[in-house]
Amino acid sequence: MSRAVGPVPVSLDPSVAPPGTRNFRDAGGIPADQWHANQVKQTLVPTHCCFCGVQCGMYLRVDERGKVFGVEPRNHDINRSRLCPKGLNAYQQVNHPDRLTAPLLRRSRDEPFREASWEEALDFTAAEVRRIQTAYGRDAFGLLGGASLFSEKTYLVGKFARVALKTRHVDYNGRLCMVSAAGANKLAFGIDRAANPFADILQTDCLLIAGSNVGECFPVMTQYLWGARDRGAKLIVVDPRETAVARTADIHVALRSGTDAAFFNSVLHVVIREGLTDDAFLAEHTTGWDELRATVAEYPPKLAAEICGIPDVQIEQVARMFGTAKKAMAWHARGIEHHTQGVENCLTVINLCTATGNLGRPGAGYGTITGQGNGQGGREHGQKSDLLPGGRSIANPEHRRWISEFWGIDEAELPQAGTSMMEMVWQMQRQEIRGLIGICNNPFVSLPNYAVVKDGYDTLDFHAQFDFFLSETAANAHVVFPVTTWAEDEGVMANAEARVVKHNKAQEPPPGVRTDTWVMCELARRLGAADKFDFAGSREVFDELRAASAGSVNDYYGITYERLEQTGGIAWPCPDLDHPGTPRLFEGGLTYHPDQKVHLQTVEWHPPADRFDEQYPMRLTTGRTVAHFLSGNQTRRLGALVEQTPRPWVELHPSHGYRNGDPVRVTTRRGSEVLPALVTEAIRPDHVFIPYHWPFPTSANALTIDALDPRSKIPEYKVCACRIDSAPAVDPVPAPPMPPGRSAYPEAQASRDDPLPPSSPQGRGTGEVR
């Protein structure tokens, strides 16, 4: 197959010039290998990565023309100079040739986009908002935010919806990510964040990782896992796939996806049976223990082993290893959260930690690993349908009064709680929502059941989208606003430890590009709310956010840009300017409920929403690969990452008789697509896995089910029923969308037509010969 693209007319035989020797364009706009250190004076701007919830520190290298052109490791105490391939290549987005630099506009989806002035695009959008809200009511216009935005912008998304649009329909893409853990934390602890900092992992004796492919999704967090093991800790990994961290774990529990609650109930069953509970802790610091004990009594290992498809002795081993450890910790991620009982799965892990007294101590505790860079901060300040700034509840009369007064609006004007992201799509289909603005999200790739999502968005009378590359969702809109990357503005994010970190501006945005803050303020002005959106930039928004959160559980009042720059990050709650922040919660066993106790919750396991039968006997589970991030709108344009993992695949066990690279059709009740088989013993025989970063027709989410957890409304991405058949040829991976007349930067796309799966889920080996 031909891989030679670009200016060098030589055969790129991978045995001589393996992937990576290609002339990738770097952020300076020249092929990367034509740049030399002696040509440029550089400044290093300290900041953090734009990608996952670990929020590694990094320096962006800025040349004398003020352009970002590279990255330099930064010895920040989150990551100690370490970076993953996404973080290393993140800077290449900033001056990427695919950037949007002018608003795009069209009156109808039949027309192609044309470039428009900012005036025209903003005026048209404001007119459409007014038209739709006048004709169909305020709630007929919706707003969807994102958790890769700085917290300042997420605050503005919530305020824009409630104060400028005055609609109840606002939600954000953290709904697809963090909400199950958030729901469980609120129920059990009265506060929504991880309980321990990463550094506590180094002091644990037993670390349990449930449903998290740490090595690929949070690569830099792996140092804490290995660091704990260097000090003698045991590692337990619960995952249907033998991931890079499961491979060498002391116990790898390869359970069936969708059976986590049965497993953890049974582990607790054995913990109780063997007398490994911390009775003093339970008596002093919990409610609901008797009910919980009665419930887990119904989950003996034999029964759970049958549900989970694992040996029953493994449940006993896990219970003993976790229960006898002096200090044990459990961390989980989407693997147990993306379920119709996502909240309950998280509660079973909390129950286990609480029953063994593992809370609130160095090396003993509980954490949830946020997926998006601002997965934590993004849900705290009011862009979630049921929350107001500071994590206040929009249903609580006292909270409503407080924030109405703070914003200077009539409380009667403040909308009630809206619906979740997926429910909003269903409402679009029913024309209850007729207009939508999307900011920093790409639901055409990230929401489940693509056919429904496409239909919902197609039914909209008006759709505007903010992004810096033309996402699949933006390509379907009426108006696209070209906005800044993270390196062109300043702001804060809160990482998976709830540590608030400061991102600094490294360069001016390209001509034609504006900050999301500016666009929201301009729209608000046109909607008659100018006085409430008088912000020069992030700094002013952050000061209002701090004040808005004062006195709430998520108290940011004591956090200032200056303090963040001095300290390298402060964990909330931080109620005043002298407060050191709160890296570890629940010290002394005290929670944030009024009675300061852990409210233990009983959980009954139930099967996943999708039915398994003869037609659809296998379990499809989805997840990430290390070289790509979320919907891939950012990473599918970066040459090095496309080179590492050009396309999705279907991972399956050799017992099905397919050979590596065979085209395999995966069919669910929602759709079907053909992907190359990656045949490996590192997955259960009754499961197949597809990474979800690519768009239709190679989208995992064209197959997944839009069934929601009743409490958190998170979709059940991690399990649905499917079957596999052989097929003649794999579906091609589409090029990333571009405005009319432009095509995606070709050298970055050189490998995209590779019909073969990668060597391993982490990517193509650099030396392979094909």
Binding site: G20, F24, W35, L83, P85, T222, W226, S760, G767
Partner: protein, 213 residues
Amino acid sequence: MMGRTLFIDPGRCIGCQACVSGCRECDSHRGKSMIHLDYPDEGSSVASLPTVCMHCEDPVAPCAEVCPAEAILISPDGVVHEADPTRCIGCSNCVNACPFGVPKIDLAAKLQLKCNLCYDRTSLGLAPMCATVCPTGALFYGTLEELQAERPGVDVSNWFEFGDVQITTGVAMVVPADRTRDPVPGGLPTLPLVQVNGRDTGGRVVSDAGGQL
């Protein structure tokens, strides 16, 4: 083994290729990676292995030994440098001589490309880019004492065997304790593998490309 050097621990490697991306950021060969990242247990596990230049010691690095242009300099600290572009004739002798398969030829420039242990960084007291960014410490830069202080009880070897040929290197690998008495088997065409990840292979013979014979 050099004083401060790289240590490779495949047991910690998660195969993420941060080393590969990090290597591309180096100013002396921007956009090109000198690191190989292999998945040697393809089809069975997600095991992975980074290969950097091992900076061979004994008696002279094979690449330097065979270079007809004497382009490959070895500095007193033991670092085997990339072929000097004013001398390199792009003949590929070094590519063929290297037992670890490290050097590459830049076809457009007709010049050799090879890791020089980030000499621009290490000469300033920094670690090489790959070991700086490696998320897991599978690539570690420092002295043996520093490594063992961080990872108590760890053993290393810089002694490798390729058929009848044995070689010692400046870069070392973390190995199980019982592997320090004998040279670490390298990758000649036929290598009897006894165990992979604790599983007996039944003495199957594996080619150096990883496929079964």
